[in-house]
Symmetry: C2
Subunit: 344 residues, 2 copies
Amino acid sequence: MASDVIVAVDMMGGDFAPSAITGGVAEALERFGDAYRYLLVGDQEVVRKGLVELGVNAEDSRLEFVHAPEVVGMNEHPVKALREKRNSSIGVAMDMVKAGRAGGVFSAGNTGAAVGASFLKWRMLEGLARPGIATVMPGEKEPWILMDSGATVDCTPSVLAQFAIMGDLYAKQTLKLANPRIGLLSNGTEEGKGNKQVQDAFGLIKNIPGINFIGNVEGHDLFCGKVDVVVCDGFVGNVVLKTSEQLCKSMSNMIKGQVMQKFWWKMGGLLSKGAFKEVKKQTDAGEVGGAPLLGVKGCCVIGHGNFQAHAVANGIRAVGELIREKLNDRIVEVIHQYALDSIG
Amino acid sequence: MASDVIVAVDMMGGDFAPSAITGGVAEALERFGDAYRYLLVGDQEVVRKGLVELGVNAEDSRLEFVHAPEVVGMNEHPVKALREKRNSSIGVAMDMVKAGRAGGVFSAGNTGAAVGASFLKWRMLEGLARPGIATVMPGEKEPWILMDSGATVDCTPSVLAQFAIMGDLYAKQTLKLANPRIGLLSNGTEEGKGNKQVQDAFGLIKNIPGINFIGNVEGHDLFCGKVDVVVCDGFVGNVVLKTSEQLCKSMSNMIKGQVMQKFWWKMGGLLSKGAFKEVKKQTDAGEVGGAPLLGVKGCCVIGHGNFQAHAVANGIRAVGELIREKLNDRIVEVIHQYALDSIG
């Protein structure tokens, strides 16, 4: 039976699009069987050709094509590009969800464009003010969620409180935690630490019923298993995300550089290479397949621009899971209950 | 001839005080010859005893003792502690500078207490609104400066502009750069990115004459040699500092953990151990000896709470250099000129 979970895929978004994306679709067809159907949004001719080259039957009943020849480049100004390119693959993919032809979107393209298009075309879920990106981050022991990692740069305290609620629900779904520890990112752990917005958010989050708020957390608490969901505004979250990505890369370069300095170190490096590959795998964003944009009326998972086929397939699965788990319904329920409690 | 550069040392501040601090003084006496004199502020009996145990002659003419038996603990609320403990070592050390008996202070104690005490007792330099901590950070190729790493949590755009000026002057002094590249930390490199305060600061910093402003920088630009001074508020800076410290630790733990998994990996790890020690040394905050608190009327270098003797000695030298280079005089000059230009 044909699946009713339909994922719209932005075929043109990402540093290695369309080839990494067609590759991801090919892998998804193989790995996920009949779990999903795919609405492939992009330059139809290019996409079909790419699939055929990979040995995919373009007439596969799980595939449907939507022509959208324009691309929002990785460095384009998102809102401007969306306005000027009415047939951009990301914009049309969002339209498909609005029209009921797909349940959600995967894109490895321009993050700002995905956030902007979903906000403009889908609008916010009832009761929610601003979207947030929930990124699963690697950790020494367990992964954790950074919420928001870049969708909403200026956040009021109540937006941070909504992020806490959405992060809690997403951690329950994706990290399979019964009672995730929610922390508010600050410059110290004591209550009262933080900038004005964090200080005010503390009071709000403390009073959300049913979440396991462990108070303020600081940079020292990340990566080491002390917190499951780290709540912050999209400015701070984006700085944390990118700084962490770069520091991993720089440390790895420093280690490689040093190991090459002496013969015995080089030998040791060769012998233990497998261990480093394991660590790299554990810290690879592609294993998760991207981060959902939460708070909007629709499911959208945003992949890293540098995603290759395997990561794209994981991203497609992430969209499928969001659709199937009906995360948005639960977000609306909890936010509604919270609003009622706040009034009462 | 006795040196006229006198460093007041907070003997009671830090996780390993007083022993790490007496150890640092002992090392400084040995390493720096007659370059400095030392005003040792703390519980006099304890400090003297500690020095004698290390084989230091407590009657050394370079040493002077000031009794201040109270300690502000690492987790105490700074302002409250300063109010209640009139004879705290950090507070009395600051008093000594105000009274002209020392040129600056080194402390590895409670950062908030050092910031608070200097702000209350010394006040700001003329024309400056808020203090900032300029932390020298390790990099793949070259070190860089994070300004502010935690002194002023809520910053107006003009405070960020002042941080750019102070960071520029400190980079010239300590990194020996003729024309340091100043970047404003944001969530993307394009002009217009950032929260409101960063967007407004961009316009101000762009118009500061004589500094090499390279525009917005993002997390991906740190650690890899693209920028010399990263300007941000103390909230974001503190998050970046602590997140980076923890990520280095967590990555190192992950690598160690993996290397232990297989016999050959373990052998390789043993062979290349020296390379890892080199990387650890390159990323060790103790080599720099702490971070100066800039903007206040006096020189104060704040060490990491976990500093051991060698790092403390480096911190004492860092204070000595600040005093000798008269950094504060240059800050006042440039700020004054900038203010004149802004009016004109």
